[in-house]
């Protein structure tokens, strides 16, 4: 600490001559969501300044893409954000389909929507649990994981994997779904709806929880827009921006769903938005399941090698955390010239750093948890 800040400190606890001191929170800390390091300048418990230090989970995904052919980047895509790996995986496929001009069969499109929304719910459930864990509530965490387990089981049956699904392929998906999948999915939707009253009684209405959340970690609309905050965090500031509605991709324009927003911009607003989003995802799933057509899951003619024309493509999807964009530049070879990922957590985390000032250590943990950053996604 001392050497970083250029101050000799023979007694590490003696402070800085005044009654302030620095606390190095992370990269190894129970609530830093991976390996974030927060450099906190504190007076007592009050934060005078907070500086996030990132990069501890940097895996050079973008550089790896430049050294592999287009197909070989597929497994990477679901590892950028391992909590909504399906959405990221399919986003990459869709970006490539746009670049290559491949048509996706109807059935595959519907399957993609269903698994994406399931993945979104599982990501939100995990967030719900870990956020409560940050606030010191352990039991909701396990209830949420119990529900999430159902999703993982459903997805495992179809994709063979529980977290990092390499389920998408350029033009479709690898495995077809069956009647049991449909049955299980609908059963899960019903189960989740049945669990919601419990969650509300245990968490949303809890007076302690409310006190920890309401009016804390305020990100106002202007700040959010300036930092490029997206996803539930932006919608919690009253901006109804959801890529599924704003720039519909895939077949999302066919579904009837709402974009939940909250005006307050505090932790509780973000919490409510995510809970409402789970319900909306359930609605989308029901509609997609009802409209699931028969047919192939991959195009008739499958190519083995992909060589896009010289050009570029940008494709953005609404991930569980916000606006996830993939920008691909092709020089006509089998390898992308450049592949850039626009990850929502990075922008969201930047905004967090701006609002941490003046809060307390306990709030820091709550705010960070409420924003739902996935550090490997920030570092990429």
């Amino acid at each position: 600490m001392a050497e970083i800040w250029g101050e000799p400190a023979p007694q590490p606890l003696a402070g800085n001559g005044d009654d302030t001191y620095y606390l190095n929170m992370g990269p190894q800390h129970p609530s830093m969501h991976g390996v974030l390091r927060l450099l906190l300048h504190l007076r007592g418990e009050e934060i005078l300044e907070a500086e996030p230090v990132i990069g501890y989970a940097h895996r050079a995904h973008e550089k790896m893409a430049e050294n592999r052919n287009y197909l070989m980047f597929l497994p990477n895509s679901s590892r950028v954000d391992y909590l909504s790996g399906m959405i990221y995986n399919l986003a990459y496929c869709q970006a490539m389909e746009r670049l290559l001009g491949i048509e996706v069969p109807e059935r595959a499109e519907h399957i993609r929507v269903i698994v994406s929304e399931l993945n979104r719910i599982s990501s939100h459930l995990l967030w719900f649990g870990t956020f409560l864990l940050d606030l010191g509530g352990v039991t909701p965490f396990l209830y949420a994981f119990d529900d999430r387990e159902e999703i993982l089981t459903i997805l495992e049956r179809v994709t063979g994997s529980r977290l990092t699904y390499s389920y998408g392929r350029f033009g479709g998906v690898t495995q077809d779904v069956d009647a049991l999948f449909v049955e299980q999915t609908l059963a899960f939707v019903a189960r989740l709806r049945g669990r919601m009253p419990d969650y509300h009684a245990l968490v949303s209405d809890n007076v302690i929880f409310r006190h920890r959340c309401e009016g804390v970690g305020l990100i106002d609309q202007a700040t959010a827009l300036r930092y490029g905050v997206t996803g539930p965090c932006l919608r919690a500031c009253g901006v109804p921006y959801d890529l599924r509605r704003a720039e519909p991709y895939g077949i999302y324009s066919r579904f009837d769903f709402e974009v939940p927003t909250q005006p307050a911009g505090d932790i509780f607003a973000r919490y409510l938005v995510r809970l409402a989003e789970m319900e909306q995802s359930c609605r989308i799933i029901e509609q997609a399941v009802a409209a699931l057509p028969a047919g192939p899951i991959m195009p008739e003619k499958q190519k083995k090698r992909f060589k896009p024309e010289v050009g570029e493509s940008y494709f953005a999807v609404e991930s569980a955390r916000g606006h996830f964009g993939i920008y691909i530049v092709s020089d006509g070879s089998e390898l992308p010239l450049r592949l850039k990922l626009r990850t929502p957590s990075f922008a969201n985390l930047s905004a967090v750093a701006a609002v941490l000032k003046g809060t307390m250590i306990a709030d820091t943990v709550a705010i960070l948890g409420s924003v739902d950053v996935v550090l490997p996604e920030v570092d990429r």
Binding site: Q11, L13, A14, D19, G44
Partner: protein
């Protein structure tokens, strides 16, 4: 009194009390000599516990409990609390204080040398084993006989709290 010489040898405490005496004195000695001020405060607490045990042995468990509750649990904790957040912990260079230490030691020894023989030589007229107090008696004394003092003390405490808050409050940044 006639039997002075005899009475002086009457024991007020059992020999087990020497342990408490040792605790009080060693703790005290450490409290004034340890260079680290936090160590000094913890030694003070040790000494206070020793004194409290002496109180207990002297047949005043209520006072002993209060000593532990307020002195050890309150005052020394407050000292530690203040030191932890605000102060440069170690004292200045040791050499600078040597002369002062010498003088202080001389003064303390002088006082002891002056008063010790007096105590040793003075004749007391103790008549012992009066164990006729209860907590109720103590409370009655506090609230009836010493009522004014008691109330004054509570006012002093209140003023001390208010004063402490005013003095120690951080000036709002301008």
């Amino acid at each position: 009194m006639l039997e002075n010489a005899m009475l002086e040898n009457v024991r007020v405490l059992g020999s087990a009390a020497w342990v408490f005496v040792a605790l009080a004195l060693i703790g005290g000695a450490l409290a004034v000599t340890l260079p680290n001020i936090l160590h000094a405060i913890f030694s003070l607490a040790l000494s206070l516990v020793g004194v409290a045990l002496l109180f207990l042995a002297l047949g005043s468990p209520f006072v002993a409990a209060m000593q532990v509750l307020i002195y050890v649990g309150g005052i020394s904790v407050a000292m530690v609390f203040a030191v932890m957040f605000a102060f440069a912990l170690r004292e200045g260079p040791a050499g600078a204080a040597r002369r002062r230490r010498g003088l202080a030691g001389a003064a303390a020894l002088g006082v002891f040398a002056a008063l010790g023989p007096l105590i040793a030589r003075a004749s007391w007229s103790p008549h012992f084993a009066r164990n006729d107090w209860t907590v109720a008696a103590l409370g009655r004394a506090l609230l009836q006989h010493y009522n004014v003092v008691f109330e004054a003390l509570s006012v002093v405490l209140l003023l001390a709290i208010v004063g402490a808050i005013i003095v120690a409050r951080r000036e709002p940044p301008q």
